[in-house]
Symmetry: C2
Subunit: 298 residues, 2 copies
C-alpha cells in the first residue's frame, strides 16, 4: 500500500519543519496541534488542519507524533479523540518524539492488538536537521513496517537505521543523549579547570580539537562555552528530561551508570538554578557555580 | 644561538620514535636511557649514546626528557649525575613527559635560578604520532625559549601551541586527558546500557557517530570497544596516572570536578581488577563488570 497521506501531530520546534519537509516530499499532510496558530501557519504551506487527532488519523495512511514526552504521546494515541480511535485498519503510527523505551513497547503492543502498526523512530539533528531533511532517525519495530515507512523517513532524514524491535530506536536515542551529556560534562569540567588555573579556555578548545579529545560537542559548541555563550539550540530542560528516561531505563534494566548518574545530578542543579531554558552546554554554568566561578555571558 | 644538538633522555615507547624524528630533522642526538638496550638500538640510526644524563647535558644545546612521571623528571634534572649538573650555561631543558603542572613550575624556577631554561611541552598523539612527527605539543614557558625551541618542536609535531607561562602546557594536557577519560566513560556506559537492554552495541556506535554524540574516541575505538577488543594503544595504567595529576591539580587549585572524580574511581576499579595493561578504553570492562556483564574478548 503506497503511502500518500502522512499526518503530523505536534507542530513544535521539530514538528513544524518536519511537516514542511513532508510537503516538499510530495505527501498530503494533515496536521493537528493543541494550539491552532501553528496549524494556520502550516496551512499556508499546503498542510491540511484537522479538528482532532482522531480526525487526522481517519484521513491518514501514516501518522507521525512529535510531542514533548511519553505521556503526551500515549494520550494522543489512546485518547477518546485520539489516533487509535480514528484510525483506519492498517494505519501506521510513527512516534518520533523522545520517550521511554518501555512506553514505546507498550504502544506498539497496543497498536498491534487493534490491527494497527507502530514504530518508535526518535531523531537527532535538531530543528536545523529537520528543516534540511537531514535528521538521523533511529527506528524500533517490525521490518515490514520499517519498509513501508521508508519513503516517509527518506523525506525527513539522511541517516536512517533500523535498530531492532519495538523500543530499540528509543534505546539508541537514550544512548545518544547519554553520550552527548557526558561529552558536554567533559568539556565543562576541563574548561572550568583551565579557567581556575589561569589558562585560556579558548586555547584548550583549540588544542583539544586536534587529538583524541576531539568531539562534535567540542567542535560545534566549545568556543561558545569558553565564551560563556549558552544561546539555546538544544535546551537544558529537554536534555534533563532525556536523562530521566535514561536513568529510568537503567533502573528498570538493572544497569548501574555511575558517570551518567553524576552528570544527571549536575543537570538537575542547572535546572534548579533556573537555567533550564539555556542551551544544554550551560552544564558548564552549573560546574562553574559549584566552583564559585561566575561566567561572563549567559 | 642555533640549536644543533638535541639530547633525549628516556627512550621508551615515545622517546625512541621522537629521537628518530630528531635525527631525520638533521639534529645531532645524544641519547641516555636507564637500560642500555634502547641506546644501542638508536645508535644504529645515528644517535650518540651517553654514559649519564649529566654527560648528555654537557654535549647538548637542548635536552628533551620523556619519562613516566614527575619524580622521574625531577630526579633526572636535579640528580648529582643529572642534567642541571652537566648543563652548559643557557641550556634549554624541555620536558615532554606528562607530569603535574606544579612540578613543571618548580623545575622552571629551579632552571632559571641556575641560569638555564625550562619548558613544559607534553604531547598527545601516541607512538604513531611520534613516529610520523605529527604530535600535538602543548607548551608552557617563556616566549623567548619557545621561539628558540621552535625548530625542535617542528621536527616532532604538527600542532604546536604556546599555552601560557610555565606549567600551562601541563594544564592543557591535563584538560586533554580529562576529556578523553570522560569521552571513554560516555561510550562505555552507553554500550553497556545497550547490551543490557538487548540492542547491538555496534549499531549504537554507527548511529551515534553521525550526530552530536560523535567523538574521536567513538570514531577510532568505538567498534573495538563494542567487540570487547582492548588491545593497548594508550594504557589504562598511564591514563590513571594522568587522572591522579588532574585530581591533585583540582584539589590544589580548589576546583571540584564531580564527573571526573567518578571516572577516576572507575579507572581505579579497572586497575584494581588487574586490567592496567589494557587499553584505556577497557574502562568499559570496569563498567560491564560493575553490571555483572562479562565482555567477549579482552
Amino acid at each position: 500500500m503506497t503511502v500518500r497521506t502522512v499526518g503530523v501531530v505536534g507542530l513544535g520546534l521539530m514538528g513544524k519543519p518536519m511537516a514542511r519537509a513532508l510537503l516538499r516530499g510530495g505527501f498530503t499532510v494533515p496536521v493537528f496541534n493543541r494550539s491552532p496558530a501553528a496549524m494556520d501557519e502550516l496551512a499556508g504551506d499546503g498542510a491540511v488542519p484537522q479538528p482532532s487527532a482522531r480526525a487526522l488519523a481517519a484521513a491518514s495512511d501514516v501518522v507521525i507524533t512529535m510531542l514533548p514526552d511519553g505521556p503526551d504521546v500515549a494520550a494522543v494515541l489512546r485518547g477518546a479523540d485520539g489516533i487509535f480511535a480514528g484510525a483506519r485498519p492498517g494505519l501506521l503510527a510513527i512516534d518520533m518524539s523522545t520517550i521511554a523505551p518501555a512506553t514505546a513497547v507498550e504502544l506498539a503492543a497496543d497498536a498491534r492488538a487493534r490491527g494497527l502498526a507502530f514504530l518508535d523512530a526518535p531523531v537527532s539533528g535538531g530543528p536545523e536537521g529537520a528543516a534540511s531533511a537531514a535528521l538521523t532517525i533511529m527506528i524500533g519495530g517490525e521490518p515490514a513496517d520499517v519498509e513501508r515507512a521508508d519513503p516517509v523517513f527518506r523525506a525527513l532524514g539522511k541517516t536512517i537505521t533500523h535498530c531492532g524491535p519495538a523500543g530499540a530506536g528509543q534505546v539508541v536515542k537514550a544512548c545518544n543523549q547519554l553520550v552527548v551529556a557526558l561529552n558536554i560534562a567533559a568539556v565543562s569540567e576541563a574548561l572550568v579547570l583551565a579557567q581556575r588555573t589561569g589558562v585560556d579556555p579558548q586555547t584548550v578548545v583549540r588544542v583539544l580539537q586536534g587529538g583524541l579529545a576531539a568531539s562534535r560537542v567540542l567542535e560545534l559548541r566549545g568556543a561558545a562555552m569558553a565564551a560563556g555563550d549558552f544561546t539555546p539550540r538544544g535546551k537544558a530542560s529537554a536534555h534533563r528530561k532525556d536523562l530521566g528516561i535514561i536513568m529510568d531505563l537503567a533502573r528498570q534494566s538493572g544497569t548501574v551508570l555511575p558517570a551518567t548518574a553524576v552528570v544527571d545530578q549536575l543537570f538537575g542543579d542547572l535546572i534548579a538554578q533556573g537555567h533550564g531554558g539555556l542551551d544544554h552546554t550551560a552544564l558548564m554554568l552549573a560546574v562553574a557555580e559549584l566552583n564559585g566561578i561566575k561566567l561572563g555571558r549567559t
